[in-house]
């Protein structure tokens, strides 16, 4: 009985929906979606960053890059890839951690055993934390 009742109500809602779609003109929704969720710190990667993203997230926190270079702002280099890059929502709240001087990230990336492109990671983290 519960299922039959549920399906009947859904069927009615479907009819109402189709009628409404015929009568109303669809409007763009992206801006409204992003604005609605901006307060929750949900930031988006761009298409280019998305394509590179699997490479940006391979850090295993072995710490070798920290021996080759120091910190990005106040943040230890391995942490940039292993903890800040994990969380690209709400990074705006911690932007102070990654601002400031940057070390030689090319040299640091050269010693990474899993090939994390650290310069790109720093760029993405900083862009998201500022946006």
């Amino acid at each position: 009985m519960g299922r039959a009742d549920s399906l009947a109500k859904l069927a009615f809602a479907y009819g109402v929906h189709l009628t409404r779609r015929r009568l109303a003109r669809p409007r763009p929704q992206v801006r409204a979606l992003l604005e609605t969720n901006a307060a929750d710190g949900i930031r988006a990667l761009t298409a280019d960053e998305r394509a590179r993203h699997p490479r940006l997230t391979t850090c295993i926190n072995c710490g070798l890059c920290a021996l080759a270079a120091g910190r990005v702002g106040k943040t230890r280099l391995p942490d940039l890839a292993s903890s800040y890059m994990r969380l690209y929502a709400r990074l705006g709240e911690v932007s102070g951690d990654v601002e400031g001087e940057g070390p030689d990230l090319v040299a640091a990336a050269a010693v990474c055993p899993v090939g994390v492109p650290l310069a790109e990671v720093a760029e993405v983290v900083r862009r998201i934390s500022r946006s």
């Binding site: 549920s6 929704q29 298409a47 699997p54 295993i60 899993v114």
Partner: protein, 540 residues
């Protein structure tokens, strides 16, 4: 064997339901003892999708479950603000999906009626181009998409916050304490015998015993000759140690089920399966076929999924109510409060079925049944009283970080676990050292957890504060964590080493099914860091 003073109620099971019952009853002024055989939330609760959701899926079967679920989710969101965060889904629709875009939007329009109950926004409909703009990782051949909002939650902290509040109101709660026997007298259950972590046995008398042991409920009820009938269902998740998509995403499986890729704060859960389970509840393994089933579904909508390295898998067994013939996915997520008085076990009440999103309501109804049995009149207060850490606004993370000398990210993560108690936690350890850098977790928080949160092992620490939950899976922090906990609990050097090795071995069981080629290479590197732990007796 020791016998303490009698309690009004003994609660068996320290998952979310048992913790909720203990909190509810202690807020009503009853004396409560809660016993958990493992760690709090280590069973079904911790293996969930980490969501307080309203269950749009149930609209097809039972709108009342959706309404109740949304209503209770709204209460949980209010009382546990520091533990919850919005999870926004983009639900892509492909050309041959079982539901076309109009049917999918209809379902969301109906669901929108319930969304205000849990303080969520209504859905949006996106064209294919719009969907790819907000989520560039989606398959380019999608027809369109709709969005849907749910809430994410750390279930381990939610359980513990309930335990903390119960204890603050007079309850006693012990983890790693197994009930070995229900004490009966002339057809009445009058207490329990139990064994603590040190092997010592004890007895606790109570007027009512609540069986809130989830999938273990039939086993506990059988101790009193009573019967609980479940249809246990196994579910697995793949855990990625990163947020890998802008939004959470749903996908249709090869057999037409709805699967979810949920973007949580810093990690992603991909799941879940739903299969009848007949095995040993204390030894539930993930098999590679289950992993492949999930990846196959998500590859259709998020093609890059196989390029990401998973960190581990989780698995648990749902205590679903018994129903013959139904396909697993169609089984109701409703719950039942069973009074076993008619089976010669007066004084024993079982709470079975249900889901995380309705835990508070389940606890309320169970507590109502207990109070009725005891003739105790007191209203339920759990819907309006905030859980510990939510009594006041939190300090902005940057401010807390500057005051305590830790990175803002560490402060933010700490607040997501401890809420307004974060500063008190940092004061405990008198050190600002970051112990687990991936999460990140401070040494002070681990010290606090060992002193005040019943952390008795590294696995307990993983659940309570997130140690070793990140991409390195403990390679960089597990020995340091063993040192800190060992110092607090008085472990010898050998015990500290053994604890770290035991943690690595156990976590390996969840990692092995998901290691791809690059995963194995990275595992080898991690093994280098853990060499002393992993090869001590020639086993992994």
């Amino acid at each position: 064997m020791s016998v303490g003073s009698p309690y009004d109620v003994v609660v068996i099971g320290g998952g979310i339901t048992g913790a909720g019952v203990a909190r509810d009853l202690s807020l009503r002024g009853l004396s409560v003892l809660l016993l958990e055989k493992g760690d709090y939330g280590a069973g079904t609760t911790g293996a969930s999708s980490w969501m307080i959701h309203g269950g749009p899926r149930y609209l097809e079967f039972d709108w009342d479950t959706t309404r109740l679920s949304c209503q209770d989710a709204g209460h949980i969101v209010s009382i546990a603000r520091n533990l919850v965060y919005r999870v926004v889904f983009v639900i892509p629709v492909l050309a041959h999906d079982k539901n076309n875009i109009e049917r999918m939007e209809t379902a969301m329009e109906v669901y929108d009626r319930f969304q205000p109950l849990k303080k969520s926004h209504p859905h949006r409909r996106l064209t294919a181009q719009e969907a790819l703009q907000v989520e560039p990782g989606l398959a380019p051949d999608l027809v369109g998409a709709v969005t849907m909002e749910e809430w994410g939650v750390d279930p381990h902290r939610l359980v513990f916050a309930n335990i903390q509040d119960a204890v603050a109101h007079g309850a006693s709660a012990f983890n790693h304490t197994r009930v070995t026997e229900l004490i009966r007298d002339a057809g009445k259950v009058i207490g329990v015998r139990y064994q603590g972590p040190d092997g010592a046995t004890a007895e606790a008398r109570a007027k009512v015993v609540v069986n809130a042991s989830g999938p273990w409920s039939p086993e506990v009820a059988a101790m009193a000759g009573a019967r609980v009938e479940l249809r246990p269902a196994k579910g697995i998740h793949i855990v990625y140690p990163h947020r890998i998509s802008n939004f959470s995403i749903s996908a249709e499986s090869v057999d037409g089920r709805d699967l979810l890729m949920v973007s949580h704060a810093g990690f992603t859960l991909l799941g879940t399966t739903d299969d009848d389970f007949y095995g040993d509840l204390d030894s539930v393994d993930v098999v590679e076929d289950e992993v492949e089933y999930l990846l196959q579904a998500f590859e259709r909508v998020f093609p890059a999924i196989r390029d990401y390295r998973p960190a581990r898998t989780t698995t648990g067994v749902r205590p679903t109510l018994f129903k013959w013939r139904r396909y697993e996915d169609e089984l109701s997520r409703r719950y039942a409060v069973l009074d076993h008085a008619g089976e010669g076990a007066d004084g024993l009440i079982s709470i079975v079925g249900g889901k995380l999103s309705m835990y508070r309501l389940m606890a309320e109804e169970t507590s109502d049944a207990v109070c009725q049995k005891l003739g105790h009149r007191a209203p339920c207060e759990t819907a309006r009283r905030p859980l510990p850490g939510n009594e006041s606004e939190v300090t902005p993370p940057g401010e807390l970080a500057a005051r305590c000398g830790i990175p803002a990210l560490a402060a933010m993560k700490l607040q997501s676990r401890q809420g307004s108690n974060a500063e008190k936690v940092l004061d405990e350890g008198a050190t600002s050292r970051i112990l687990c850098r991936c999460e990140p977790v401070t040494e002070a928080e681990l010290v606090y957890a060992a002193r005040h949160e019943q952390v008795r092992s590294l696995a307990d620490a993983f659940r309570r504060v997130g140690v070793a939950a990140g991409p390195c899976a403990g390679a960089a922090c597990i020995l340091r964590s063993a040192e800190v906990i060992g110092r607090e609990l008085g472990w010898s050097a050998e015990q500290r080493f053994d604890a770290a090795r035991d943690f690595v071995r156990r976590s390996w069981l969840g990692r092995a099914p998901v290691l791809g080629r690059s995963g194995w290479a990275q595992e080898e590197l991690a093994q280098g860091a853990l060499r002393g732990l992993m090869v001590a007796d020639g086993t992994r």
